[in-house]
Subunit: 370 residues, 2 copies
DNA sequence: TATTAGCACTCATTAGTTTAGAGTGCTAAT
DNA sequence: ATTAGCACTCTAAACTAATGAGTGCTAATA
């Protein structure tokens, strides 16, 4: 028997870890040395496997719940698996067509698209799907208008160049004659055309103050309006979250404490919204496997967070697979799925990747449509 | 010992049932004959109590989970209790002030009021609070406007006389020049002023069609707009639901199946929205106990549904206490709490009653404000 | 005649015991 | 370097026994 060098040993270790993870994902039971020896095609005896396993355990990639149980992957093990062991594949054609057909319901608004996407993510993963709505502040201001509702209340509509519309009711303490209203609206529209909405938000109050001279009479009203616009621009990103119930029915979830955490997350969606916030800044790309280049030239931006890698307590026993989406070449939002750590990463990464590409596709159509 | 007549026996039965329910609510454990004999002030031996209990059991007001357990109330038992045994009281002053202080956060819009109310209901009951938003269709149409977003898209704002505003984006296939747009808006505003929004919804398409002669050029566009308005008027009532997580942590909830049902309810709020729909039509009033007349002259409209009295499956193990609220003297919405069957009905009924009065109070202020 | 004491009976709960089997780690043989 | 062999550990399941809370019935009682 020829001597094995270091590389071969590493290779074997990798294969064993991969097998453990695959088997654990499949059966949800700890995997023993016997099973690996018999079922895998490594051709090694249980005893040898045991040596490999104890080494993997020393490296904290696996543990066992108790002495007489098989091994299960740790978060670190999953991480290693996702980083280098998972075989990334293109999504099956059959699933691609399924997704495309799901998108065929009439989508009029961006909101419809976001909702439908989160539903698709949920129903194809059988886990929970989410979409964080486009980040309002990144858009370019086009125009706004105020419609009187009553003497002190107005419906304020703000439209971005990409066609996103935000609307909310504002209330003023002072009464506003129609003429002044029109003047204020015209002024805002003229001075902010072409600015980002973040700039509008930050500068609206100060701008309105600078016009003191000629606007003395309606200054205080303009100020009030500015404040209200600011207030609504600060609102957190909207989040679409579907299929959270799916996670409950998983065999991995038995602890009632986990239930409560999950519940909290659904009730206070902003928890999750904050959580994925970091995706905007630091985006670690995970290219698809060689030999399967994507149709679209752009790189996949799928990110995986496993269990304790999530900062949020409610997600300590879950994994989040997310990607970003763009509008007019700017990253404006995040979408993805939330599922058990014990999930088919290969398939799920492909799914999220594919759906995020579809989102980009549809969003660019919206963009063209303007 | 003097002979007891039928009435005295009935009275005793009532007292025993009341004691069982109170004790069960307090401890969440089945109540035995011994406990009743010792703790209650009836002065009867366990054996006598047992006779009463078995009679109550024959009447299906109580059961026991197994032979050697004490008694617990059935839905029928709770019903009897709520109908005639519960001591209705005014809410404690301390709680009244707590509620009033909770309402002191700045409430600008009806939406704020609804959200805040559902939070109050949740936090004071320690269960789940809900408010079904005002029924749009019952309001009187005041005016509407269309703001162009892009060539094919408009922000449509509809304002009711009571100041409720509804706004949504509509998309048309054909392009609309500004002039035609203004014409259509003027026409709608003139012809529907004073109508209910339901009438607007039902008649808008047919009205637009009747104007054929003079409007030939913009008829198809007007039609499209009419259809879109119709579509958005059909949208279901919005629902505010807070504190559903509170229910999970109750000792009454152990069955994972119940968890799932509850989850479903939170995810698909319209389930609940449908559920309380019946409150608009058939309202069974439950006046407060004599001797404690309410400050406000109007009758309390609190309704209690216990366990299986709820049609919805998700609520089979829960009780719903609800009341309606008015705007301009019309019943436009429902609010209440959802909790375990095993809850302090007296307190909760008072709470819902009081909060619904507060809602009416604030809403009438909104109304005046217009 | 209504009430109650007495008693046999039921059944959930808990603890204790045993057994089976899955899986490990170590050692010595190959 | 690999593996067979074996003692060891620990869980899960199944069985047993003891406890005790609560009932329903009957006969005695005020």
């Amino acid at each position: 028997m020829r001597a094995l060098n270091q590389e071969d040993l590493e290779e074997r270790k990798r294969k064993v870890l991969q097998f453990v993870i695959h088997e654990y994902i499949r059966t949800s039971n700890p995997v023993g040395s016997n099973a690996i020896s018999t079922v895998s095609s490594l051709g090694l005896s249980p005893a040898t496997i045991r040596n490999v396993l104890s080494e993997l355990e020393r490296e904290e990639c696996i543990t066992h719940p108790h002495t007489s149980a098989g091994r299960i992957p740790t978060d670190k093990g999953y991480r290693r698996y996702v980083d280098s062991l998972v075989d990334l594949q293109r999504l099956a054609i059959q699933e691609q067509t399924r997704i495309q057909s799901e998108y065929e319901t009439r989508i009029r608004e961006i909101e419809d698209l976001l909702l439908q996407t989160s539903k698709i993510l949920s129903s194809l993963s059988h886990y929970s799907g989410f979409v964080v709505a486009p980040k309002w502040e990144r858009h370019i201001f086009s125009h706004m208008d105020l419609i009187p509702v009553s003497s002190h209340r107005f419906l304020c509509a703000m439209i971005s160049e990409s066609g996103l519309a935000k609307h909310f009711i504002i209330t003023t303490r002072t009464e506003l004659p129609r003429e002044s209203l029109r003047k204020i609206v015209r002024m805002i529209n003229e001075s902010f055309h072409g600015f980002t909405l973040q700039e509008v938000k930050l500068q609206i109050t100060s701008r309105l103050e600078n016009l003191q001279e000629e606007w003395k009479d309606i200054l205080s009203m303009a100020k009030e309006i500015g404040q209200e616009i600011r207030r609504f621009s600060d609102a957190e990103n909207e989040l679409y979250l579907e299929g959270a119930g799916n996670i409950l029915s998983l065999p991995d979830f038995t602890n009632p404490h986990d239930f409560q955490n999950l519940f909290k997350m659904v009730e206070e969606k902003h928890i999750l919204s904050e959580l994925v916030g970091s995706d905007w800044d630091e985006v670690k790309t995970k290219p698809l496997a060689k030999g399967t280049p994507s149709k679209n030239k752009s790189r996949s931006r799928v990110k995986v967070r496993i269990g304790s890698e999530n900062k949020n307590r409610a997600l300590q026993n879950l994994s989040v697979i997310s990607s970003t989406y763009q509008l007019s070449d700017k990253t404006v939002g995040v979408l993805g799925i939330i599922g058990p750590k014990r999930m088919e990463y290969s398939k799920m990464i492909s799914l999220v990747d594919y759906v995020s590409r579809m989102m980009n596709h549809f969003l660019s159509e919206f963009d063209k449509d303007i």
